[in-house]
Subunit: 329 residues, 2 copies
């Protein structure tokens, strides 16, 4: 069995590590030839998660996307949402036929405000039952350290979900399947916005009491939004795929969205925070998409609106969060 992992970041590297625990061949695509060469020589990713040892008896790093996809029955996508279109469109539209496509991307297609799975289903020759997403709570840094972690595989087909969950289960990772693909995909996107809010309030010197209220209110916002778009009687907001994913992103020191928010709260401009971090905080793009979608829905989401106002309307963080205070309970 062969699979492809598309992307050279820390989450892609963690996925490669988990997949390497199985007797499968892993085609690992990344953009830069020099990174491939580094991995082939030093058995580690030069840029991200460098402490993860790459087992070259199973992993084939390469820059040839066509070869990676052609050889594989499952394709894992782990690139920033801003680049996914460009990368996928570089192959013929039929290239993905009969393959299982798994999105590990925690964002939407910018401008179009489309879920990654919706975009793939509508653009390529991929059946909806062959689409999956990976939801946390799972920071790649802790996968690197083999700390016990849990993944939820969102799918519309139990069999497809199970096949992917099996590939992503090992001694230190337990993966389970949920058929609430759309709910989980939206929640995974929106959690990054909440993490930015947590960072902003921390940067403004709000405390643990406030953050607990912020996260509780935000979890309800996510629930209202997802239930409006995709009503479901079986959705459990306090499950790992919803609440757990939100918690790890909002509370962990490893969260880049939280770090980005923290800098904004401390007075950095959005631009300088982005330059300083040298990483893309997905929540920055996500809040624009979710706010756009909500223009029509008009769901009450004060936390998400506050982040939008700070990042896009240039309202001062202190002013905006002061207003938010009275909307929470």
């Amino acid at each position: 069995m062969s699979v492809a992992v598309i992307g050279g970041g820390s989450w892609a590297t963690a996925l490669v590590k988990i997949l390497s625990e199985h007797p499968i061949e892993i085609y690992w695509w990344m953009r830069k030839k020099e990174d491939v060469d580094h991995i082939l020589t030093y058995e580690s990713n030069p840029r991200y998660a460098s402490d993860i040892h790459i087992n070259l008896s199973k992993v084939k790093p390469l820059t040839d996307l066509q070869k990676a996809v052609e050889a594989s029955s499952i394709v894992f996508l782990a690139v920033p949402s801003a680049f996914v279109k460009e990368i996928l469109l570089s192959l013929d539209k039929e290239s993905y036929k009969n393959k299982i496509i798994v999105s590990g991307i925690k964002g939407m297609i910018p401008q179009e405000n489309q879920l990654i799975t919706d975009y793939i289903a509508s653009t390529f020759d991929v059946k909806p039952e062959n689409l999956c997403i990976i939801a946390g709570p799972c920071h790649s840094e802790e996968v690197a350290m083999e700390k016990k972690s849990y993944l939820t595989i969102g799918a519309t087909s139990e069999a497809t979900g199970k096949a992917v969950a099996d590939c992503l289960s090992c001694r230190y990772v337990k993966s389970t399947v949920s058929l609430d693909l759309y709910g989980i995909e939206y929640a995974a996107i929106m959690k990054n916005i909440v993490a930015i809010a947590c960072g902003i309030t921390h940067g403004l010197n709000y405390g643990d009491n406030f953050q607990a209220v912020l996260v509780s209110n935000a979890m309800q916002e996510i629930g209202r939004f997802v239930n409006a778009l995709h009503p479901s009687g079986h959705r459990v907001l306090c499950s790992s795929a919803f609440l757990g994913d939100l918690l790890v992103t909002s509370y962990s020191q490893f969260s880049r969205n939280r770090t980005f928010g923290n800098m904004v709260g401390r007075g950095y401009s959005v631009k300088s925070a982005q330059i300083e971090m040298n990483m893309i905080a997905e929540g920055y793009y996500a809040v624009k998409c979710i706010n756009d979608i909500n223009q029509e829905l008009s769901i009450d989401m004060p936390v998400i609106k506050a982040v939008y106002n700070i990042l896009y309307e240039k309202i001062s963080p202190a002013t905006e969060i002061k207003i938010l205070e009275s909307k929470l309970s």
Copy 2:
């Protein structure tokens, strides 16, 4: 208007501070004459939350419980659950008649496994509509620093709840009323058990990914338990009174239950951890009560059961949490 605050700990001190923001007289009862004298001389509590300034133009510290209760229309209880019976029974049973009794105690009556509000209603001449509880998320340390915090007042009467919420609202605290008194009281007790679980796993070197899953599963456990005991169609588990309270206790560095669990996870015996901390971790008693109650209900609560097994059945933390790993998802 006069109120009484019963207890000399950090939460009692924080309540005195919040109440002092209003034009009311506060009779502050504590056990030790020397503490009263210290406060009268230095305007601060010598033992806990010493950085809170006590405004003696409004606050009357005293050791005479009868006088404190007699003079007051609202009595706030903020003593460890282990001492509440002894303290309340030191007055005549009619002393509490027509007074609003507000419990800020996060535990149950030991041995009897009774909620504080149930105990008061069944033992004293207090009408159920005159009973309230205070739920977090609100660490006293952040009240001391005047960091924005939120309280939920659980009541069975909207009017009583509102009267208490008004006393406990000020520039840095927003208090709202919930009529789900019993649900909130149970959740406030159970959160301390979860905080011990978080501490234990942290002490065992589990990471943020695991903690997020642990807290998500535990929130569902609390929901199952409370819904079985007091079914309600209106209960929102992701609200501040449930989830927020759980988060602040599970994640905050100020949580004594988490600290206690952490020591147990790192190999301290229960006894030596208690001696070292010199503070009572309410969750230690709570898990015994909840486990007893669940003997009849048999609700699936693996996180709470694991804490019980570690603290009372002397199962090694590493073994018990390893077993727990497979029960979470």
